[in-house]
């Protein structure tokens, strides 16, 4: 079973990849853990707050085009072929 994580903007800079195919993960939390172990500190710093270890508010994740809070948050299960987009929304105008 494989899911595809797609990286945009700063997350692409942190991973130096457009996307990664990840096997053996069954929910969003385990996918993020695997991504951090694969891409290291630069990605971890972009994903998690250094003091609380919570996902930063600058991280937006869509699973197959749907918001996590419409699903089951970080416990959202990932099926084979799932597409997970990770991007930091920008705000300026």
């Amino acid at each position: 079973m494989a899911v595809t994580a797609k990286f945009f903007a700063g997350f692409r800079e942190a991973t130096e990849k457009k996307q990664a195919s990840i096997e053996g993960v069954n929910d969003v939390t385990s996918l993020l853990d695997e991504l951090v172990s694969r891409f290291g500190k630069k990605l971890a710093e972009r994903l998690y707050s250094s003091d609380t270890r919570e996902l930063r508010k600058t991280v937006n994740i869509l699973v197959n085009g749907r918001r996590l809070d419409f699903l089951q948050g970080l416990n959202t299960p990932l099926k084979d072929g799932a597409l997970v987009a990770i991007f930091p929304p920008v705000a300026g105008g």
């Binding site: 937006n60 918001r67 920008v90």
Partner: protein
Amino acid sequence: MIINGFGKTGQRKLKAAHVVVAGIGGLGSPASSYLATAGVGHLTIIDSQRAKLSNLNRQMLHWGPDVGRLKVESATEKLTTMNSNIKVDAIFEQITSENVNRLTKGVDVVVDGMDNYHTRYLLNEACVRNRVPFIHGAVEGLVGQLMTILPGGGPCLKCAIPKEPPKKPLFPVLGATPGVIGCLQAMEAIKLITGVGKPLVGRMLIFNGMDMTFDEIKVNQDPSCQVCGRQGR
């Protein structure tokens, strides 16, 4: 306009159209300029600020001598000079939950030129409620994002970005970044008005000037969305 699909009919549609440009800064400047030069007959520009020196790297409707002037006044002058055959209404107001309905109801398209999500969400909600297409854009550094919200026809801004990112005191922006996104917003508005092409609905475009890439993120409408979903209406 001799581009295939536009012609005299397309030009007449543009002439008859009324577009609101909410915010006349980095995004609103290029967006309104290309709407004016395309011949959109009626533009309403809304902004509550005065031009500052630090705006001039990107807000190209405001020039050195305009520092201190109302942005809507400075922009109206330039837009009506670009095209004297259009009507420009300048509204010097902050967009709030009290006036957003009045400012957007009954127009053909609203273009997002804001610099904060609080107001973007107000516009998103009002546009969905009044069934007015809303063209979202935002920028920071060399990164920009774009999505067209077609009420009843796809997801809204809340479906893509549910929570306001933390506020920052400053947004460093390379001037060309809102130039790119603002032009694309104008293009989306022109396409919607003329009925030409396929709008950016259900897709968020991410532009990254660092590696000069354009990517799309698929966005689905959710029945649970408080704004555009079945439970929200």
